[in-house]
Every structure is written in structure tokens, then in C-alpha cells.
Symmetry: C2
Subunit: 276 residues, 2 copies
């Protein structure tokens, strides 16, 4: 039996990214320099490049003055999901324009220059497609692209990286209808490999060591043409979302609905009394 095997490494040497920078050129250059020192590391067909959204935002000029952070959060928010006031301030979990559910609409002030806040890429799938097409053309190898951000999750502490943009690769193994080794239906329905790849890449990129891109080798079976669905397809449809609101918010909506019903009832019965 062939042993399934993955290699993951960080792409070093990418400089601090500025608005208007050509990310394709910066990544291709860093990959070329790294390959010169380690020929086995030259990018090859089937490699997946996992890119931190922060450098995509920086290249796309998504910086806003830190003083306009709150305004930017409001602009990038489609819907408030949950809100909680605590000692350190207010945690606001929102749905962003990109369809992501995350704190502060993903607007971040770490790993950016002083006085600057950074919005998410406007359309991370579009950014991923541009990167993928550009790198495939420039390097002559069929790579896949995942753009990541770091997000929290209910029920579990802390954050992990997930795929917020993607191009040139299949993002999931859809196992619905498949069977296990015993011919029994699988419990799992859709294995979301793109999020697992995003998390795996974070292990070599880290948050503090300035490595914004990782290369994953060994998942060539996932790499496709550029027409494949992007990471937006990983967002759960509203009708399937059992956690559309925070518990406190949903409780309040239920409470208010009951009070409104009672009020309407009273209005009706007092109207009947006065007309009788």
C-alpha cells in the first residue's frame, strides 16, 4: 500500500507588502530564491499555495486609518449575529459582505503599520483566481490557491485558520452516498479539505514570524482548472443555519414577539369592549 504523505513548508523572503504590489511577482520571486537553495522545493504541478489574507488585503489597498475602524466594521457588516459587552469592550460577531461569520468583520490591526486597520479582501475568491491564473502563467505549473483568515468558533476556545478564498482546486470530498470499507453509509457527509489545508498551513506560517505563504505538496488530486467553485461555497445556506443568531439575541426576539402578540390581543379586546 502506498503511504499517503504530505509536505508543508513556509515560503520565506516575501517582503512587507505595499498597496499596489504585484503579489504574483512577489510570490514567484520568493519561490525562485527558495528553490535556488533547495531544488526539491521548486513549485510543481499539484502544489497548493496557502496565502494569508493579510498580504492580499495589503496589495489590494484595503488599509483604512485606525480612527475609521468602527466605520469600516459597519460598512463591511451585512448583519449582526451576536453581541456581548465585557470588560475589554464589546465583542460583535457579524456576517461580513464575504458571507463569513466572524468578530469585527475581520478588520484587524495586528501585522499592519501603526495607525492602520486592514479590511478583508473585497472578494477573496476573485483575488484567489487572479493569483492562481497569474502564478500558473508565470511559473508554468498548475498550482491551487487558498486564501486564509483566522476565525473563532462557537463552543471551542481560540481560533483556527479557514479558507476564505480559493481557486484552482476542489475544496471538499463530498462523501454523500459513499460507503465505508464495510459497505456501510458514511456518517460524514462533506469533508471540508480546504479548511483542513488552511489550518495545516497555519502550523508553518504562524502569526508572529512573518511567513505569509505556505506550500502544501501531496494533495495534487485536488488541483483542478480555474472554473471550480470558490470558498464562498463553504458558507452554509441561511435555511440550513441553526445558529443564525446568538442565543441572547434569539431569546430577545422571541420575548419581543410574545409581547407584541399580547399587545395586539389587548388592543383588539379593548376595541371590542369599547364597540360593545
Amino acid at each position: 500500500m502506498t503511504i499517503p504523505r504530505l509536505s508543508i513548508w513556509g515560503l520565506t523572503g516575501i517582503p512587507e507588502v505595499q498597496p499596489g504590489d504585484d503579489l504574483v511577482a512577489l510570490i514567484a520571486e520568493a519561490a525562485a530564491v527558495q528553490a535556488a537553495g533547495d531544488p526539491a522545493g521548486a513549485l510543481a504541478d499539484g502544489d497548493i499555495l496557502v496565502v494569508t489574507s493579510k498580504i492580499v488585503s495589503k496589495a489590494e489597498g484595503r488599509q483604512v486609518p485606525a480612527s475609521e475602524r468602527e466605520k469600516a466594521i459597519s460598512e463591511d457588516t451585512v448583519r449582526i449575529v451576536a453581541e456581548r459587552v465585557h470588560l475589554g469592550g464589546t465583542t460583535k460577531i457579524v456576517e461580513t459582505r464575504q458571507g463569513l461569520i466572524m468578530a469585527a468583520a475581520g478588520i484587524d490591526m495586528s501585522n499592519v503599520p501603526e495607525g492602520v486597520a486592514l479590511r478583508l479582501p473585497e472578494d477573496p475568491d476573485r483575488s484567489a483566481r487572479a493569483l492562481c491564473a497569474g502564478l500558473r502563467e508565470q511559473l508554468g505549473v498548475a498550482v491551487g490557491i487558498i486564501i486564509t483568515d483566522t476565525i473563532g468558533r462557537p463552543w471551542r476556545v481560540g481560533q483556527t485558520d479557514v479558507a476564505i478564498g480559493a481557486a484552482g482546486l476542489q475544496l471538499t470530498d463530498d462523501l454523500r452516498g459513499d460507503v465505508d470499507a464495510n459497505g456501510r453509509p458514511l456518517h460524514v457527509t462533506v469533508a471540508v479539505l480546504a479548511d483542513e489545508l488552511a489550518g495545516a498551513a497555519d502550523l508553518v506560517k504562524g502569526k508572529t514570524n512573518g511567513i505569509p505563504v505556505a506550500v502544501i505538496r501531496g494533495m495534487a488530486r485536488l488541483v483542478t482548472g480555474l472554473e471550480t467553485a470558490g470558498a464562498r461555497s463553504l458558507v452554509r445556506a441561511v435555511d440550513d443555519d441553526m445558529f443564525r443568531f446568538g442565543s441572547a439575541e434569539a431569546y430577545r426576539l422571541g420575548y419581543e414577539a410574545a409581547m407584541a402578540e399580547i399587545k395586539a390581543e389587548r388592543r383588539q379586546s379593548s376595541a371590542q369592549e369599547s364597540s360593545s
Copy 2:
């Protein structure tokens, strides 16, 4: 700059696990056979072994007859978080005895023999500690252990693997108070590496190819003694949980609370009327 690098591979050759099997022996034997064919793959200090909970459950005799699946779900449920009836049946998201929020209390009928359902390990951290201590003793190398299960998440489609048990390794990078390359506070608070390792291992294990264990090499900095906190520490405390109930469930609680208030008010005012 050193290039950070990870290797991840599947441990092949583990037979179908039976109740009472010695997992330490089975894993050590499979690792020895694999190392004979590939000496670089011999387990070494700092390797992390990621083990599918299914084989842990099987070895621990957590099988129940399929006809008792519903009873087992009830027994393993501490609290119903959300419930939804749909065409295929009822989806019940519950908190399990292990503190996990997941569908059907994690009781699974795939990759088990016909007529059998499988409960989660009773205490996955305890199982991980036993595996870790046993493998360290038998192999003479300091490995870390993560036990995984496949779980869904709100807001995003499908499932990914997370750590439900762990021993002998640090599970997170706690970045609270740390600063970025520019000296600015980090947005991220706690990077949950254990879940990212669990997901990374799933990429080589898969769901259908019968590889229940993966080895991750390159994260030796995480490997510790056996006293480190287990995966139970990754469960968010109830007081921090903004999504303690499904939206429909919380809405209903709010609605019922308002109705109960009104009823109490009416009872009080009719009591006053009759006494006046």
C-alpha cells in the same frame, strides 16, 4: 532563515480493531513494519501521532447494537443544543458527556461492522494519556498523541476533524499579550494548533481508505511531558458561549418566558380584583 517544514504521513497496516485490543501494541507494530521499509519514517522524539477516535472506541469496547443507537445517544447527551426536523429525519445537536457539541452525541455507524453503533471513548483525554505513556515506554521516543473526531460547525458546510483527546503536547499557542513584527498587539488570542493538527492529519487519513493513524513530524516544539492539559481544555466555558442554544430554541425560550410573565401578571391582577 530556516524554512519551517512539516511532514505528515499515514500509518498503514493497522488491522481492524477489536474490543480489548492493545492499541499501543498495534500502533507500535505498524510503525515498526513501516520503518523497516522506510527507515526515515521510524518514530522519533517530537513526532505527533494523530489517532482516529473510532479505533480507540473499538479497542475500548464502546460498541452497542445498532438497535440501541437512540438509547445510547440519550445516555451520552448532557444537553440538547438544537434540534431540527427535516426530510431525512431529525438532526439533533447535543452536548456530550465529553463536553463536545456535535450531532447525535458522536455515535456513528460507519466504519463499524453491520448492526453495530459506536460511542465515543468515555474519556478521550484519559485514552490519549494511556496511549502516550504506553508508546513512549514501548518505543523509547517522546511522542505526542491527539485523538480526533469529525464534527460539523455552524455557518460553514460539512465537517472537519478536531482534537477530542490529547496527551503529551501543548495544544495551543496562547498569543494574548504577544505583539507582531511591528510591536502591535495581535488580533488572534489563542491559536488552536491541536485542531489544526487534527485537520492536517485527516488529509492523509481520509474517511474511506482505512488509515486510522497519521504521524506529524516538524512540530516537536509542542511535545511535552504527560502532565499537559488535555483536549477538554479546548471546550469553551459556558459563560463565554454566545451560542449555547440553537436560534429556534433560544427564540422559543424567550417567547415562553414572556408568556409566563404575562400569565403571572394576570393572575396577580385578577387576585387583586377579587380581593378588592
